[in-house]
Symmetry: C2
Subunit: 414 residues, 2 copies
């Protein structure tokens, strides 16, 4: 918690390629040096998007003076509206089928994707994945029909007043139309207005912009092993985060836990035989470009990264651990009792993550630390992802679990 | 969440035997009737303690004007101080061994039990049990040495400003000296002052009182089974709660979940073969007298309560289910996949609880629903146990789990 607090104090805004990200990189390097790690950075080139001012989104009814603001925020990598804004009729779609059914009516309109996350799914990440396609692909699907902009219902199971942003992925085959998230409360209000009387226009304005790709450091700290320093156990988080809040859970918690795990092992005066390496990536949110760059870098030549584990699901209660391939799982399962003693309820084959995934092609066993995810989307990608939403004992238990697994791997290999 | 919200709105203070408890009983009977249950009450006689005004606890240093208030609240069932208060030197003890070592110095003194909950224990209930003996037995152990009052460090893993109260259990062999909890922040401040210079007095004043035992209804609602109405599956919570806050988790959540489980089964248009009975007890906090009275009541004659499950660990994330004796566990384990689909990570033999425990002697299989407990003691027995600390999805998932288990038992027996 102390490490997370310091990162968030020094660098509460960490969009890839932003000055805030640079601050965060400096803060983490200092933190790593304080822990006694050997530190360096590796270059990465990341998308560079600048939000600009707050987004404006206003419902305009047919009666004079009938205007009501919506809580909106541009999606990451969105194009801006024209400087003067745009105004157009709005049409609701809960699915791509409903979008298709709009046909010619979509031309010149603003499409409002109102697909709620499915509360009946126990796996919140599965409900998220299913709903996120409207955020990522909705703009291009709407543009295909001639729409001029999209609003997307925020991806959270709660009714709240905070837009939850995230990346839009434009299909090069269609015009890049502006895209923003609206809070779930605003989505409900807008949907109710559309049901009451469908003649509704929206006025939208946001002035974000896409800049040329930018350099951003991958931040690395290493504790060299006493016996086999050339064999590396990698612990990963992503240091970039959405700019609407400080990204305490996503993924401040993952970065802080990796460093906290090192701190715990140091306090216990343990000496890992193999090297422990903390890697903090500068672009998970725009598509994990840095993870691919890291794996493909010439700096990896001759390196043996035995195992990599990633924590990118928030700093919540420890629940599970994905222990890599079926083969590695068969060997590592023997450590299950140790993990259970720290609160882990299950170990399974599988695991990896956006940032460490590309290492698997080089023979690294990729694993994931899995905390409880029932509360994650409450705060995810929004202004609500603040330090106060992180429970000190939960994040601490997560760091302990990761310390245990990292140490076991460092001592025993796979 | 809706049911919990209504109970807390109508009856935010529910000490056994208090007018607030009566309000709560009425609210729950109405809620049960709204659910279509057949309702009644059964009489119980419970301890009756009245808090009176706020507790005063002030550190008084040797320098003139050196006074600093502590955050304190009388323990439940505590005797009052003299009306004018009392003033005496204060001595710290972290264990009963340290208390014994004080010997004659304890005579005439106030004993400050400063035993923190053990953070290294994964099982917070185990850390709680270990520390709670100073709250329950500390006053009498101190009185044995001639102490005049005790302050007890609050039982929470957090540093906070809220006294966490709970019951004191007086040993009839020793004088009943006044006892109060101090917040962990105040405990740290007091301990630091004692280390800095041991000459410190406390001024204490609280005007709670023990009244003659009082009547309080056990609240019951039943959904008669379609095929074997005489075989009963009982779902329990305790409706009494500490008065410093609304008792949202302890045990508003347990009461609300039992009713919510009924609501879920009704909404799904299911028809249990055996009867489902919700029982809300009026005294868990003073020693579970109502649970014993319910089990021993002549109203139990001829009743077949096949199974009873209790939820009294807050409305947090579902984790486990204790499925009764080894014998019942062997039979009920077949339902594990159903429970796992609702988020339960493990089923084990065992289970029961303060209120339903006495039913086991009559042949009832006693079970417990186990949510995650890492955050429970943050709010437990304090002003922090408010609705805002209950996560709507967590309490809902808990109700679903209990609905599934109750329905399975109602359909299939054991």
């Amino acid at each position: 918690m102390a490490i997370l607090t310091r990162i968030l104090e020094l660098a509460p805004r960490r969009l890839p390629g932003s000055p805030g990200y640079e601050e965060a990189a400096r803060a983490c390097l200092e933190e790593m040096r304080r822990l006694g790690l050997r530190t360096w950075t590796e270059p990465a080139v990341v998308p560079h998007w600048v939000r600009g001012g707050p987004a404006e989104a206003v419902m305009i009814g047919p009666m004079s003076g009938d205007r009501r603001p919506l809580e909106a925020a541009a999606l990451g990598l969105s194009e801006p509206t024209p400087p003067e804004g745009l105004e157009a009729p709005v049409l609701e779609a809960r699915s791509f089928e409903e979008l298709s059914a709009l046909g010619e009516r979509a031309r010149g309109a603003i499409i409002f994707f109102n697909h709620p996350m499915d509360r009946t799914k126990m796996e919140t990440f599965s409900a998220y994945g299913e709903a996120a396609i409207f955020r990522t692909r909705g703009a291009s699907e709407a543009a295909r029909l001639g729409a001029v902009a999209v609003l997307v219902r925020s991806l959270t199971l709660r009714l709240d007043n905070a837009p939850h942003t995230g990346m839009v992925a434009y299909d090069p085959a269609h015009p890049r139309i502006p895209a923003a998230a609206v809070s779930t409360a605003s989505a409900e209000a807008l949907s109710a207005r559309l049901k009451a009387g469908p003649v509704l226009r929206l006025r939208l304005r946001w002035d974000c912009r896409n800049e040329p790709p930018s350099k951003a450091p991958i931040v690395v700290g290493q504790w060299d092993g006493t016996e086999r320093p050339g064999e590396i156990i990698l612990m990963a988080g992503h240091l970039d985060s959405w700019d609407l809040g400080p990204g305490a859970h996503d993924d401040g918690a993952g970065c802080a836990q990796a460093m906290e795990a090192i701190r715990i092992l140091k306090v216990l005066d343990l000496k890992p035989r193999r090297s422990l390496r903390v890697v903090l990536y500068p672009d998970e949110e725009y598509g994990a470009s840095a993870g691919r760059a890291y794996a493909a870098s010439t700096a990896r030549k001759g390196e043996t990264i035995l195992a990599a584990m990633e924590s990118d699901r928030g700093g919540f209660l420890p629940i599970g651990f994905g222990l890599g391939s079926a083969e590695s799982f068969a060997k590592l399962k023997v450590w299950e009792p140790l993990l259970r003693a720290c609160g882990i309820e299950w170990v399974r084959p599988g695991g990896g993550g956006s940032d460490i995934g590309p290492l698997a092609e080089r023979g690294t066993v990729t694993m994931s630390y899995i905390p409880d995810s029932q509360r994650y989307f409450d705060v995810h990608h929004s202004a609500l992802d603040v330090l106060a939403s992180v429970h000190p004992r939960e994040i601490e238990l997560g760091a302990i679990v990761q310390a245990v697994m990292a140490y076991v791997l460092a001592q025993e290999g796979i």
